[in-house]
Structures are given as structure tokens and as C-alpha cells.
Symmetry: C2
Subunit: 215 residues, 2 copies
């Protein structure tokens, strides 16, 4: 199971300082929506370049831009991959046409489309479940509070949508839930402030990464 | 009926050049999602300041940031209003909690929340129809092509949702459809390339503005 660490609500120098502390342990580093909307993708391209130029000591993390595309999928995804992101997000509530052009852009750039299932009901998930290379991310809205039982949520999702292979989960995930999520075959678990607000960010990231990778 | 002109897929100097040509005629100038995502809200604050400092010759246009908020509504809306935008957009597909915090932010800043109804079905629109100060924007996805019959679309919407007072419409609107839309009581009509890609941008904007304001 991959560990994705989300960086949010900080400025770019602080984001780079956090990246330096987690890049040897995390698999994916998320530049959160708050940063993409405040600073824009073009200003974040140097952050991608800086990470790519880093000497590899442990794992070499890649960057995800949480751009939450809703429309104009080709424009946003082509731009995001050109800026150096390896993963980009699109809303599951977008039109099927938008998801299709995002999937095509991801394939053309060797990148990955993560579909954010925020507020998607079962009927919609069924309708958009035909992208085998995409990661489908279960996501409880920050404005609605954290997920109470992520392991149970993943188990129910897998039963309801057996055709979906790659599952991600975000929303207040705690370190003690990681082994249960890995046992369910989750592809990517997303953690935020549990790591980025820890007293020792690098230690917190390493501990969670070990739990993700050993399970 | 107000005319909103959307500026998309240009850099900031070009956006400012377009603004200079339309600011005496348009009611609302939209900084499109492509700009907010490429350059970020902070880089657009000077664009807001520059427009606000402009000597008023005709109408004094205000700016809308098409930020398409999906989550973290308070953070994004507070930031957007602080940067100088008068209108901000939130997706109708967001959680009710997100819409509520966006509405509260708009009220606190004397701004307006525009709800983008992209991909919202009737059940969802019914559920989110309780924001009397918001503008509800009928919106056909760019990735799905333009609206064929916007006047008929507005008429059907009003019959189905009589509780919604303020209606906006976007998606390939043509100048010859403006009088029909005004007759239906539309609050805001959104035009893009029909004005911003015209040979004489100012003339095209003035002509459409006259059609909007005289109807």
C-alpha cells in the first residue's frame, strides 16, 4: 500500500521544507487544493523540478496535484502533467466526457488519474467505474468531518463495486488504521495533518510509511 | 439582465488587456478556471486591484473568480473575497456543508456565491435550492459541447424549481439569444469567446451589453 501525504494551507517555502522531511519515506506527496488554488500550477512547477532533482536516498516520492478538475479536463490535465505532477485529481461528479479526456491525458503523459468520489452516490460511481487505470478515492468532505470507520467503508465499497481495482482513501486517517486498510487491498492511503502537523514530521512519516509498506 | 464576460486560457497581461476593453460595458468580468488554476488567486489579486482603481467611465464591472470550490469552502471563499473578487463559484455537486460555509463567507464579505449546476440532477438541485441570495448557474460542460436551446432550458428550469429566484446561464450563448433569455428573467448571462475572440472585443461587448440591459 502506498502512502500519500497531503500538504495543505502552507506557503510554497513551507511546502518545500515539509517535502524535504518526507520525500525519503512517502510514495506520493500531495500538493493540496489550497496550494494549487492559491499559487497556481505554474508556480508549483519548480517544486516538482526540485523534488525530481533530489538525490534518491530512500524511496523517490512523486507529486500529486489535487486540482479537483470539474471541466476542461484536457487543458487542466495536460498543464498539470507538463508542470511535473505524476498524479492529478478529477472530481467523480464531472461529466463522463471530462473523465474520458482526463484518462486520455494521463495515458499520454504516463501519469495517473485519481478520481475523487466526494459526494458521489452509488449510481454515479457505477456509471464512472470503467477506468481500470484510475485510482478511485473514497473521500469524506473536510466540511463534513472525518471518516469514522475507513476500514469498514473500504470493505463495503469493494463488495458494492468489485469492478474497481485501485482504491484510495482520504479523510482523517489515523496511523492505527493503516494495517487494516492494507489488509483490504487499498492501493493508496492519504494522510495529512497526522504527519504534516506532527512534532517530528520525518519520524511520523517514516512510521506511517513502514506500516503501509510492511502490511 | 447582467452580462458576465468570461476570460479563459490567456496569460495575465492578456487578461488585463481584455479587461480594459470590456470594463465599461460588462457587469461582471469572469476570471475563468483556467486562469485561477494556472496562476492562482494570489497572483490575481493585483488584477482585482487594478480594475477597482480604474476611473469609472460607463458601468463599473466587478470580478468573478471561477474557482469551482468543491470542498474547504470557507478557506477558498474567504481567500477569494480577500483577493478582491465580488463573486465566487462553488460546485452544486459539493456537500451541503460546503455550500453553507460558502454562503456564510459571501454574506460576511458582501460578496455573491454563484452555484455551478454542472452535472447536477434534479434531485440534487432540489436539495441545494435553499440559498435565496445565491445565483444558480445552468452550465453545460465544455467537454460536452454548447447548450442547444438556452431559452427553453431556462423556461423548463423555472417551472421545475420555482423557489430559485436568481438564475445564470453559461455555455456557448450567442448574441441573438440574449433578448429571449432576458425575457425569461435570467439574472446573469455568461458569454466567453463570442466576445473575447471577436475582432473588436469592445464593440462586441458593448453590443451584447446593450442587448442585455435594454431587454
Amino acid at each position: 500500500m502506498k502512502l500519500q501525504v497531503a500538504i495543505d494551507r502552507v506557503d510554497i517555502p513551507r511546502a518545500e521544507a515539509i517535502i524535504d522531511q518526507i520525500a525519503d519515506y512517502a510514495d506520493i506527496i500531495e500538493i493540496g487544493t489550497s496550494l494549487t488554488k492559491e499559487y497556481g500550477l505554474r508556480a508549483l512547477a519548480p517544486v516538482c523540478e526540485r523534488l525530481a532533482a533530489r538525490p534518491v536516498a530512500g524511496r523517490q516520492a512523486v507529486l500529486l496535484g489535487d486540482i479537483k478538475t470539474c471541466d476542461e479536463g484536457k487543458y487542466e490535465f495536460d498543464l498539470g502533467f507538463a508542470c511535473g505532477f505524476a498524479y492529478l485529481t478529477v472530481m467523480g461528479s464531472s461529466s463522463l466526457g471530462t473523465l474520458e479526456v482526463c484518462a486520455a491525458s494521463a495515458a499520454a503523459h504516463g501519469g495517473v488519474m485519481m478520481i475523487d468520489l466526494l459526494e458521489c452516490d452509488e449510481e454515479r460511481i457505477e456509471r464512472i467505474s470503467g477506468f481500470p487505470d484510475a485510482v478511485y478515492c473514497l473521500h469524506t468532505s473536510i466540511d463534513s468531518g472525518a471518516t469514522a470507520d475507513p476500514v469498514g467503508q473500504v470493505r463495503a465499497f469493494k463488495q458494492r463495486f468489485p469492478q474497481i481495482r485501485r482504491i484510495g482513501i482520504a479523510g482523517g486517517i489515523k496511523p492505527d488504521q493503516l494495517s487494516g486498510l492494507a489488509a483490504e487491498g487499498v492501493d493508496i492511503v492519504i494522510m495529512g495533518s497526522a504527519i504534516t502537523k506532527a512534532e517530528h514530521i520525518g519520524d511520523a512519516c517514516r512510521a506511517s510509511a513502514e506500516a503501509c509498506h510492511s502490511a
